[in-house]
């Protein structure tokens, strides 16, 4: 059974600081997704990481994937208040005879950026 663990689950940081959110998963997968969710809102796709060593950056966020270590990181550079949200990583599991993957989500990291 595929398990996805994020840490930390809660993160309070000051504006201007850097920090990293970690996402570990338990079985082989080469597709990992990062989503952002604002309170009471739906999920917004941030990054799709499709291969070992993949690195993607958008603004102050950078995501990477190490499939050998089964680890993805979401790095926040010089945080600003607008980044306050819950961030989920999700890993695609392979079911139904090896085809058609479903997403298994981590529990989410609730990020609060304070002035």
């Amino acid at each position: 059974e595929l398990k996805v663990e994020q840490n930390p689950l809660f993160l309070s940081m000051q504006e201007g600081k850097n920090y990293t959110i970690y996402c570990n998963y338990s079985t082989t997968s080469d597709r990992l997704y990062w989503y952002r969710q604002d309170p009471g809102k739906s999920l917004e796709s941030l990054f799709v990481l499709l291969s070992n060593g993949a690195v993607k950056q958008e603004g102050r966020l950078m995501a990477s994937l190490d499939t050998k270590a089964r680890l993805s990181t979401l790095h926040i550079t010089a945080a600003v208040h607008d980044l306050s949200a819950t961030y989920f990583c999700a890993v695609e599991s392979r079911n139904y005879g090896g085809s058609q993957g479903n997403l298994i989500f981590g529990k989410g990291t609730k990020l609060s950026v304070k002035p």
């Binding site: 809102k41 796709s45 799709v48 058609q100």
Partner: protein, 118 residues
């Protein structure tokens, strides 16, 4: 703009009274999903349609059913809602453009329907 639309955005129902949530998409994606998300928890997949093929998660209660009459629409039926079914219900779509059965693109989520059971 192409998008995933969910109606209603808020639904209040009574304990045991059937309710239907709807999802439509203009993305022409062949895969549609329904997730349940309770407060401060991760989304949990209930089932999904790959084209017309219905795939139910093993731990999805029988109380939850789904219909997909065409590519654009998908419905979630809760036959007898209980208090524990109060949650945000998220519809998502994705496209398997390689045709190999792999979902290689991200899932696009609708705005969600928040269900309250009284």
């Amino acid at each position: 703009d192409a998008m995933v639309i969910q109606n209603p955005r808020y639904q209040v129902t009574q304990f045991g009274k059937p309710v239907t949530l709807s999802c439509s998409q203009t993305l022409n994606h062949n895969v549609m999903y329904w997730y349940q998300q309770k407060s401060s928890q991760a989304p949990k997949l209930l089932f999904h349609y790959y084209d017309k093929d219905f795939n139910n998660e093993a731990d999805t209660p029988d109380n939850f059913q789904s219909r997909r009459p065409n590519t654009s629409f998908c419905f979630l039926d809760i036959r007898s809602p209980g208090l524990g079914d109060a949650a945000m219900y998220l519809c998502a779509t994705s496209r398997d453009h390689l045709g190999h059965g792999y979902v290689v693109e991200t899932q696009y989520f609708g705005p969600g329907t928040r269900l309250l059971v009284l």
